[in-house]
């Protein structure tokens, strides 16, 4: 019994899951059953993969002990640069790859500047938040370019089959989430990421190339944010320069609500997904319950604080329960 309690306390994402179930039940009742209706779920499932992919990237980077505030801007820059490249007559596949390479380069710059000058990634990526947003607007010339009509949306955002609640983007999300989760728990690189974020000096003294590990995480985080932006733009059909504003903070909130530690070393992909689901459920549930939508940010704020306090408390309780066999 004690052992089970401890296992539960050690996994803050399970508490998030419990809260999610409670919230779904409450909003389901308050919205007269609309929350879990097919049409509503269909709508929610369109946005979820986009936000969750950003949250997964941010979580990965936070586990390795760094932080990225520029994901919201990269979310807008990737599809915008792709649209501009497309309009110069380059094929779609090449344009997407170039767009993702731009994201990778931004992640590299974030990491390189942070590590080379030993400044907090909070500052570097705050700068990049402005830089990438500005670039997005500059290259668009102030007017969103038109996307060609024949893009392969069947591969990214169309419904998987006629009448399916899921779009292809959901499939991308599931596959990428599984890959990142496997990277973290099954590979030696995942071991290095956790060690680097958990205790940088110890990891370095064991010969882990901590700087390289961090730069790879910065790059993965940016590429995931850019890919998520691509999904949104293909879904909406137009690359607006303002998309993703405020997304960086929601992504951090999702990661933290899902049990990722700000100090690094701790966190899971599953937690990031639970955190995203919680935020989406609150957003959607408030609207459906006819609560003034401006309460949304209030609720996210309270939830974030509550989650961090609860996680700290759970960690403390867990340490108290020692299931020591013998000394």
């Amino acid at each position: 019994m004690k052992r089970f309690l401890k296992i539960y306390l050690d996994k803050p994402e399970l508490a998030g899951l419990a809260l999610l179930i409670v919230l779904v039940l409450v909003f389901q009742a308050k919205s007269n059953g609309i929350l879990l209706s097919f049409e509503n779920l269909r709508g929610v499932m369109g946005l979820l993969p986009e936000m969750a992919l950003v949250a997964i990237g941010v979580t990965l980077l936070m586990i390795c002990g760094e932080f990225d505030l520029s994901v919201g801007s990269v979310f807008a820059l990737m599809p915008m640069s792709m649209a501009v490249i497309l309009n110069s007559g380059v094929p779609f596949t090449v344009a997407v790859l170039l767009g993702l390479m731009i994201c990778g380069a931004i992640g590299f710059i974030n990491g390189y500047v942070t590590l080379q000058f030993s400044i907090p990634s909070f500052i570097t990526t705050l700068g990049m938040l402005f830089i990438a947003r500005s670039l997005t607007i500059v290259i668009s010339g102030g007017f969103p370019p038109l996307l060609p009509p024949d893009l392969p949306t069947w591969l990214f955002t169309d419904y998987i089959w006629q009448g399916s609640p899921f779009r292809m983007s959901f499939l991308w999300f599931v596959i990428i989430a599984a890959l990142v989760a496997a990277l973290l728990s099954l590979t030696n690189f995942g071991n290095w990421i956790r060690a680097t974020g958990g205790f940088n000096e110890a990891a370095a003294s064991m010969g882990i190339p901590v700087k390289r590990v961090k730069i790879v995480c910065f790059m993965l985080c940016s590429v995931l944010a850019g890919f998520a932006g691509l999904l949104q733009v293909l879904r909406l059909g137009s690359p607006l320069p303002s998309i993703g504003e405020g997304l960086e903070l929601q992504a951090v909130a999702a990661a933290v609500i899902g049990g990722t530690a700000l100090a690094g070393g701790i966190g899971t992909v599953f937690g990031a997904i639970i955190g995203t689901l919680l935020i989406r459920t609150i957003d959607n549930g408030l609207v459906l319950s006819r609560v003034d939508a401006n309460w949304f940010k209030f609720a996210i704020g309270v939830l974030t604080m509550f989650a961090v306090i609860a996680n700290a408390w759970m960690g403390k309780m867990s340490r108290k329960i020692k299931v020591e066999a013998h000394k």
């Binding site: 099954l186 290095w192 110890a202």
Partner: protein, 243 residues
């Protein structure tokens, strides 16, 4: 047999104008446990950092088993069998014992360019064995290192060094911040090194700890070695008077 396991010849090191090591010569034989003492800034840490590959000497040579080596990184030092255990502890508290034991040296099922899937079953099995080998009994290799006491953590660090067949264990103030009981445990580990055929270099501010566990005392001051005697031929007072 008579080739020394470590030989330092004329090691020199400057840190932005400060002469941290002046012509240090030090020979350590296999199976010896050497206590390295000295005040802050005497050069002990510099010497240790060179031997563990964190810094590189400006001139002079390091020989391991008679062969000249170039230690450019902690990985290089580990490859040559020199493993360092730091005072701050080289364990990651948020990770399990099994994962900690193999940081950077994970057994792999398969890998491409050094990255791939870890053999976690083997990691768990081998860490149980490694921990038992240093006479430490822990409930599970999946327990987080953060839940262990300071002494247990140093024990796991020593188990890790032994598991990877290190020849020389450098212990940089391993008893700092430990309770008396925990300290005794660590001193027990250090004394046990000889029985395992390992060479030890034990750095500490605490003369008692050094005298309890080492067979030779080396003292440093102002970047030089100023004293070097078997423990049996000296006393705490004599060493103290020098520093």
């Amino acid at each position: 047999m008579n080739t020394p396991i470590i030989e330092c010849r004329n090691l020199q090191k400057w840190y932005s104008g400060v002469h941290a090591l002046r012509n240090v010569d030090l020979t350590i034989h296999r199976g010896e446990t050497v206590g390295l003492v000295g005040d802050n800034g005497a050069g002990k840490s510099t010497l240790i950092k060179i031997l563990s590959g964190v810094h590189h000497q400006d001139s002079g040579d390091v020989l391991i088993e008679g062969r000249k080596v170039d230690l450019r990184s902690p990985k290089d030092a580990m490859r040559h069998g020199l493993e360092t255990i730091y005072q701050y502890n080289s364990m990651v508290p948020s990770m399990s014992i099994a994962r900690n034991l193999f940081i950077g040296r994970e057994p792999m099922k398969w890998s491409v360019f050094g990255v791939g899937i870890m053999d976690q079953k083997r990691m768990r099995a081998e860490s149980i064995q490694a921990i038992a080998d240093v006479d430490l009994h822990l409930r599970s290799p999946d327990a987080l290192v953060g839940e262990l006491s300071g002494g247990q953590r140093q024990g796991v660090a020593i188990a890790r060094a032994m598991h990877f067949k290190s020849k020389v264990l450098i212990l940089d103030e391993p008893t700092n911040h430990l309770s008396v009981k925990e300290t005794d445990k660590v001193i027990g580990f250090v004394r046990g090194l000889k029985a395992q055929g390992l060479t030890g270099i034990f750095i500490s501010h605490n003369m008692q700890h050094i005298f309890q566990s080492c067979d030779r005392i080396v003292a440093m001051a102002r970047g030089e070695i100023v004293f070097d005697k078997p423990t049996a031929d000296t006393s705490i007072d004599e060493v103290h008077a020098l520093l």
